[in-house]
Assembly symmetry: C2
Homo-oligomer: 306 residues x 2
DNA sequence: TTTCTTGATAAAGAATATCTTTAGTAAATG
DNA sequence: CATTTACTAAAGATATTCTTTATCAAGAAA
């Protein structure tokens, strides 16, 4: 019983004939043209026969190969059905627990792009999503802090406000511009030194001397930002969480971005050891890191340019 | 267009189902059971689904795999037809030019074993064989001498004779036992100092003082050995060329093998650069070297043990 | 039961196969 | 002609794939 060898070579040959050129085959297979050529030549060497006529602009099977082409096509079309069948069934869910503000304001707007590419992957994020919460440790955690876990990115904290409020600043004291302005805070900003807020910002950059901790406190950044959009007041907030608002113009940064505080800690990613083996989780993690890198870049350039 | 990945894993899965066990699949594929398990698990990990139920004494496809099995079988049966078609066409001939005595007496008796394993490889050895001689340099050369080429083995030269002649020795002069005995020679032994014969042997070990170069001269060792078998006389000959005769008892070595001459040169193998790329030639060369090594071993142990 | 055998699995390192890179060639195109 | 395009060659880097070795579990035999 002759067992089949040179599977990848056969695949390359089939693809080369199907697409009509090594380059096109290479693209289809996600490798370089040189690699396709090598695969094919390996088989040709093994057989001691040429298989492809590399004619001018276009490939042709030699008579030897021609006799096998029908079965070859059939084989790979069957294999494609196999992978399609298997892939289709490969539903997978990922349980995510993350810092609530980050999940709502950074992850949520980015996730649809990932889900479009991976419709088989279902999510449960902080208990809500496609699938119900499961007991036990989540597959993926993203926490703000100095614990373990791979850093994703470190945020930049800046004052933000609604469109109308910027004008109000201009009308007031040119030095202590924020004096008397309505301040908004997050609960964590008074509860934890890891979350700098107005108090720290005024200390660093001035603009106000009295009652830096006065004003409304919100539990969730999303709610606070909603208030900001409605010109309720001024909030110190992670720049990464309002990038789309800034682009849309629904929120503005009233001060130069050079006047910012660095978040004391990064957001950190941890995978449950068990889950880290699943390719779906690996892909999600890789995507998270890539997106986080993009955000890092964006934060950098924003701070530098304005 | 989803291109097919994990080809080898799919092959392993198909074979495992077909044969009913990882071990059997491993044998069929010519690898170890552990490797089969790894291939399969790689795919299972990738998909995030189990594919095989490793039940007690027998494998079963999971429902997920079951849905793909039909196409999977079809794919690999088509691939087997492909390789059969291609393999069938893969006739290949190897042109060999070699020392005639070596070719007739060493290569010829060993070659059938190789040809059994490689029925697609046809030979033309010194102009004769499956296929006619072709013009130009041969694919493989085996020469005796000090030229270029990889040494195969160095021969050991000893006196040989037919069964009946051994008794005659015992009847004669206990010191100069060979005095008066009929000597056989090869043409090359008088024409070339690279081929020691009786003259050199007597000089080294005694047993005769007069007319060491007297007697019949043969062109081919094969003919000379035929005469030896018929008790025509005594011949100094490469031990490697008479191993099967010694085993069969049709020829004997009348003196202790310790009384031997070393051939001044080894047999040497050279491949035409062009031909060396062909896998068939590579396999033949590898086989030659392996057989030569065996012969080396055999010569060693014979000389030492008796 | 205990012991032996067989088949499957895990981990680690070795051996290959495979890919990318870089450079170079020949045909097609402007 | 000069340029582009597709393919090829060689070398080194990277990954996969395999073997080895040891262990485990289950069934067969003592």
């Amino acid at each position: 019983m002759p067992h089949v060898s040179h599977l990848k070579s056969l695949q390359a040959v089939e693809m080369a004939i199907r697409t009509g050129s090594l380059k096109a085959a290479a693209d289809a297979l996600g490798i370089t043209p040189a690699a396709v050529g090598q695969r094919i030549r390996a088989l040709e060497d093994y057989l001691g026969t040429d298989l492809l006529l590399r004619g001018r602009s276009g490939l042709q099977p030699t008579p030897e190969l021609e006799r096998a082409m029908s079965d070859l096509r059939q084989a790979f079309s069957a294999l494609e059905r196999v992978t399609e069948t298997l892939d289709f069934q490969r539903i997978s869910e990922i349980q995510v627990v993350a810092d609530p503000d980050w999940a709502e304001l950074w992850l949520a707007p980015r996730l649809p792009a990932f889900r479009e590419e991976h419709p088989n992957i279902l999510f449960c994020i902080n208990g809500a999503g496609d699938v119900p919460l499961r007991l036990g440790a989540p597959d993926v955690r993203v926490d703000y802090g100095d614990g373990r876990g791979e850093p994703l990115f470190s945020d930049i904290l800046v004052p933000v406000t609604g469109l109308d409020n910027t004008r109000r600043i201009a009308d007031w004291d040119p030095v202590l511009q924020m004096e008397g302005m309505p301040l908004l805070h997050l609960d964590v900003q008074r509860e934890s030194p890891d979350h700098p807020g107005w108090v720290e910002w005024f200390k660093a950059f001035g603009h106000r001397e009295s009652g830096p901790d006065r004003g409304v406190h919100y539990k969730h950044a999303r709610i606070a930002l909603e208030a900001v959009r409605q010109n309720v007041g001024f909030l110190v907030c992670g720049l990464s969480l309002v990038l789309s608002d800034l682009d849309a113009g629904s929120i503005v940064t009233p001060f130069p971005l050079a006047q910012h505080l660095r978040a004391p800690h990064p957001y950190r990613l941890t995978l449950r050891a068990d889950a880290a083996r699943r390719p779906q989780v690996q892909r999600f993690a890789a995507w998270l890191k890539a997106e986080a890198d993009k955000t890092s870049q964006t934060l950098q350039s924003r701070v530098l340019s304005g």
